[in-house]
Symmetry: C2
Subunit: 311 residues, 2 copies
């Protein structure tokens, strides 16, 4: 039976075709997929056609009239996502093997910490290098959720994030603090004068730009009932939104200082609207960190003597 013979060939060679198909679906057509895949439309067309032949299914209707998945195409697309996830899982497993073998420290940290005077991360890395000169270091910058997920998934061995809602699957190591204040920029009604800084209701009246994921930023803005009208997923984006003169927003003092010195931002001097963040290193609770990772954690602690060890 021809179908079975063709299906028998599936999986060793057709994954590339499946990846092409997935790109076509996600781009909504072959023309757009050309940019994504960086191969010609005729090649893409042939790959999708070949995949249809191999699977014995019509996956989509496409042409000048537009692109639409068939019901079978949708099912194959869904199955492809699961398969690609498994492939990524395999790759991740092998990556992890390598890290364990080659002694690579994989670190993910939150953005905009380099300018924080309380952060001695650079000292910790220096000490770690002295302790383990042969170890390689891989450093990533991501948002809080990505870092947490990545630590849990073994993509990162250590994460450094502003501590917020804790998870029992993670261990936290407090490191340094960060002071957060509300800022405004020229063009904002509150910029010109400081008289209303102490007027809580006046502050609440204005549009606020805040982070769109769970974080100390979100917690505080909810607590202070600030009216979020712009959502950002990066502090750089918050800074840009503040700079627009239409929003107030929280920024770390050390980060905002450069803007203040240039007259590009002004701090809202109201102690009720300020908050402090504690940055912590996170590792998976189980399995316990390797010796190399523990060496780095020790370096972190030594570099931040003021931090309070948790109970």
């Amino acid at each position: 039976m021809v179908r079975k013979a063709l299906l028998g060939q599936l999986s060793d060679l057709d994954i590339r075709l499946l990846r092409v198909f997935r790109a076509v679906v996600e781009c909504g057509g072959m023309a757009a997929a050309e940019l994504e895949l960086n191969i010609g439309r005729s090649t893409i067309s042939r790959h999708v056609k070949d995949l249809e032949t191999r699977l014995g299914l019509t996956l989509c209707h496409r042409g000048r009239g537009g692109f639409a998945l068939t019901a079978e195409g949708q099912a194959v697309y869904d199955a492809t996502l699961r398969l690609v996830a498994a492939l990524d899982g395999f790759r991740s497993d092998v990556d992890d093997l390598h890290r364990r073998l080659t002694g690579t420290l994989v670190l993910a940290l939150f953005d905009k910490t380099v300018s924080n005077p309380a952060s001695h991360l650079h000292d910790a890395l220096g000490a770690f290098h002295d302790a383990a000169p042969d170890a390689a270091i891989e450093m990533h910058v991501h948002g809080i959720n990505t870092i947490e997920r990545g630590v849990l998934d073994n993509q990162f061995q250590v994460g450094i994030i502003p501590a917020h809602r804790p998870s029992s699957a993670l261990d936290y190591l407090p490191l340094f603090g960060e002071h957060m204040d509300l800022y405004v920029a020229p063009g904002h009604p509150l910029f010109a004068t400081g008289e209303s800084d102490n007027d809580d209701e006046a502050i609440r009246r204005h549009a606020y730009a805040g982070l769109g994921y769970h974080s100390p930023n979100m917690e505080k803005s909810h607590a202070m009932r600030l009216r979020r009208q712009a959502t950002a997923y990066d502090q750089e984006a918050v800074a840009i939104l503040v700079r627009s003169g239409r929003y107030l927003g929280y920024l770390p003092d050390h980060y905002a200082r450069a803007f203040v010195e240039r007259g590009q931002m002004r701090r809202i001097d109201n102690p009720r609207f300020q908050y402090d963040v504690e940055f912590a290193a996170i590792v998976r609770h189980a399995p316990k960190p390797s010796r190399m990772v523990q060496t780095f954690l020790d370096s972190l602690v030594k570099a931040h003597p003021q931090a309070v060890m948790p109970g």
Copy 2:
């Protein structure tokens, strides 16, 4: 970085190498894997070598001295099993799509039912064909566990098995009965005379050949405290064991009749040791069967009017 470039290529082409590697591991070396893979040892050697190069890992030690996985090799082997399972899952999904699309009835049944006069399965299939002439039929014969698992996994749409321990994930449709008796063959001490058939202890004194998986056979033999000294996984194997003249064993009367008529077996005439089995069609509880499958189930019911519908 070379490693990343190579790893980037992983998964579209290397799966065949991973399959080869898996076969080598499971065969305990390349020589034995030749038979399994049906390719030459030099090709196998090169594939494993290529895989090691691509992954940047030494997977095994092999040669005249023997075969042994490294720790990394074991991890890659484990990861490969997960990957292959995902590939099989994909294929299974596509297969299921096909069945839904082409109107294929996929049926799995227990062996040795064709000779049972109470079974009107052939009539049901005829009626089904009349009702759905374009539907294709795929028929499998397996043991009870395989059928149950296959129905749950969507490999089979309908299973027909002797009902035993029920599962809430399955719906049961009683169809027909089967009478089971103990049999012995020439050469067995109980074959020559029937006087001791009614002597329960005499029967228990003899070695018994029974099925090695949960089934009415296992339930009854446990209840009657028969001493199982040979384990089979198919009734044909039980028949062979009985024919050896060393064991008594349960067989369906309709199946054993041919042997009895040839003087090759004798029934143990003891009502306490007899039992009846009820065959039932099983389908997954959810999702509900398709119209085509329901059509077949209706045909089954019409073909077995004596069966009792469950409460």
